[in-house]
């Protein structure tokens, strides 16, 4: 078998990748610009014996994928800003109850109904902080079809490895863009299977007792072990408790299992960074324009480089600090008012060298926009 070459939309790439990763349950509610994911899932999932359901809203979609994950399935939902807002409570539930699942947010302009058909990257902090209470979260992103495919699979793999929901932040531009994609033949990209308990029937099973490596083997609903799942603080059997030492242990576990594994979760690409005197940091559709500019400038002999982030949360502070260490000028390119810029400023030794190049008007930031910002910073005038 050969890798199949297709010419499709980014949203469809996400569907193909989810199928490759072994998804067998999808619940969603239509919303621009993510709708093609639901539509394509409705076609493709039953072909593989999987289930698609259009729910009554995004709240129930998020709840349904959690329920389906508990019976042992790989599950996903897809939405955009307003729907993502509705999912926040149940997202917190998935974090607390440690349920693997994938949530795709194809970002559009916000706040509120905002700009349904235009691009934005304003949900980056929402992905991190949208649900209440202290918590850690994994968020991946991608700027092109090849990476949408890889990051979708990564999202499923990370969800299973850490028993956690994973957010995949795409945007209107990458989601709707049509370009070529080579779908790798099955087996080429490694997939993470759900870790299931080996505890035998009749022996006490602890669904919420981490192994030494921090992982928690699961047992499917319908299988031999009957246990409780709750969004309340719970003990190792899953039963509600408010004992301070158990509460403390659980919140530490939930945060540490992600944050302590930041190096393993972090994904990025570097372009021309070795000798860069100006370093751009970007992600998603903005990174496409930035890369275009960087390649252009390189051809003219300017020492510019790009660090493209493919994982935004947990924030890869070490990678960013290291990449910025010997660079006098750092420009973060994003289509919001500086949500990742703030993180970069916190990560680097000298925050004064970090600048933002952005657009917040629903229009894709262009290489010219970025160049103009660069010239202003350099005092050259536009």
């Amino acid at each position: 078998m050969h890798d199949a070459i297709k010419f499709i939309q980014g949203n469809e790439v996400c569907v193909e990748a989810a199928l490759y990763a072994g998804i067998n349950f999808f619940a969603g509610y239509p919303i621009t610009p993510s709708t093609e994911i639901a539509e394509q899932m409705a076609v493709r999932l039953p072909e593989t014996g999987g289930k698609f359901i259009q729910m009554e809203d995004e709240i129930s979609s998020m709840c349904a994928i959690i329920g389906a994950s508990l019976t042992g399935h790989k599950t996903m939902t897809a939405t955009s800003g307003p729907g993502f807002s509705l999912m926040q409570e149940a997202l917190g539930y998935a974090i607390m109850a440690e349920i693997p699942c994938v949530i795709v947010n194809v970002m559009r302009g916000g706040p509120s109904t905002g700009l349904p058909t235009h691009v934005g990257q304003g949900d980056v902090c929402q992905a991190r902080y949208g649900t209440h209470g202290d918590h850690a979260i994994v968020t991946l992103t991608a700027s092109n079809h090849h990476d949408i495919f890889r990051m979708t699979i990564e999202a499923f793999n990370i969800a299973e490895t850490y028993r956690t929901p994973v957010i995949l932040l795409l945007d209107e531009v990458t989601g709707h863009l049509r370009e070529k994609i080579e779908i790798p033949e099955p087996g080429k990209i490694p997939l993470t299977k759900r870790l299931r308990t080996a505890v035998k029937s009749g022996v006490d099973y602890h669904p919420y007792l981490p192994r030494e490596d921090g992982r928690l083997p699961m047992s499917d609903f319908g299988d031999i072990h009957r246990y409780n799942v709750t969004g309340l603080y719970h003990d190792m059997w899953g039963f509600p408790t408010d004992k301070p030492q158990i509460v403390y242990g659980l919140i530490r576990h939930l945060v540490d299992k992600i944050e302590n594994n930041t190096p393993k979760i972090t994904r990025f690409r570097k372009y021309y960074t070795k000798d860069a005197e100006t370093l751009f940091i970007s992600y998603g559709a903005s990174a496409r324009s930035t890369l275009h500019l960087v390649e252009n400038r390189r051809r003219r002999g300017e020492n510019v480089g790009l660090l493209e982030l493919q994982s935004l949360w947990p924030f890869p502070a070490d990678i960013v600090r290291e990449a910025c260490q010997h660079v006098p000028l750092v420009i973060v390119v994003e289509m919001n008012m500086g949500q990742i810029t703030k993180e970069v400023k916190l990560a680097v030794d000298d925050p004064k060298k970090v600048f933002l190049a952005n657009r917040i008007d629903g229009v894709l930031i262009t290489p010219t926009d970025i160049r103009n910002t660069l010239r202003v910073i350099q005092g050259k005038g536009v």
Binding site: N24, F25, A27, V43, P46, E47, G49, K51, I53, M55, E56, D57, I59, S60, S61, C63, A64, I65, I66, G67, A68, S69, L70, T71, G72, H73, T75, E89, A90, Y93, D220, F221, G222, D223, I224, R226, Y227, N228, V229, T230, G231, L232, F239, P240
Partner: protein
Amino acid sequence: MALKDYIRQRFFPHIWCPGCGHGIILNGLLRAVDTMGLDKKNIVMVSGIGCSARISGYVDFHSLHTLHGRALAFATGVKLSKPELNVIVPMGDGDALAIGGNHFIHAARRNIEMTAIVMNNRVYGMTGGQFSPLSGYGTMATTVPYGNIDHDFDVVDLATSAGATFVARTSTYHVHELAELITKAINHKGFSVLEVLTQCPTYFGRRNRIGDASEMMEVYKKNTVRIGSKKKQENPDLLERGIFVQKELPEYCREYDNIISKARQK
């Protein structure tokens, strides 16, 4: 099996107040499951948030204690992804019909096989006695200190028009009927709704000066009649109990299996 084999005994005595009707519903439910001879391994109980929702912690089934109002949405994911499971969804009246009202009507409309038990105490018990969409006009609650001007839903009518294919009502006084209706609801091949009138002596009983748990149950005895009873014609204010709807319509999970066959033939 003995009733105690269906519960997680180490969590007893349970958290409910003395005389709380929710315990009688638990009692009836366990008897129903016992008479049906269901395998505990094939039962998933999904509940939301409320005093009522705590029921899922006490049963020795797979149990999923979710978010306020969202139990049916979680349950839909469980059932559709593994249709061989028996899914039982007990909910409070606020849980089922205020915050969860939308999920309630849509689950009914889909006719997905599961059993929704509305534990109707006409009040928000867990949060301390605020009115619910089932409290009814003129009742008293902490957030209607001058009397309630909100009108209530009729759960049976609502479920019926939303498309539930099994709709029934009983009370915690009528315990034989309770177990029998739960059995029938679980056996039903489609979305089944059972409303159980249940007392919250702590808030509803006290605020509305009905008396203690026993007296509240006496009210269920006095104010309800079997469907079709002559008494109803004499006194239209009586609330009917029994099975209001019981019909066969295509069930969602089975329908989806046909979708899979179609998709595969393509």
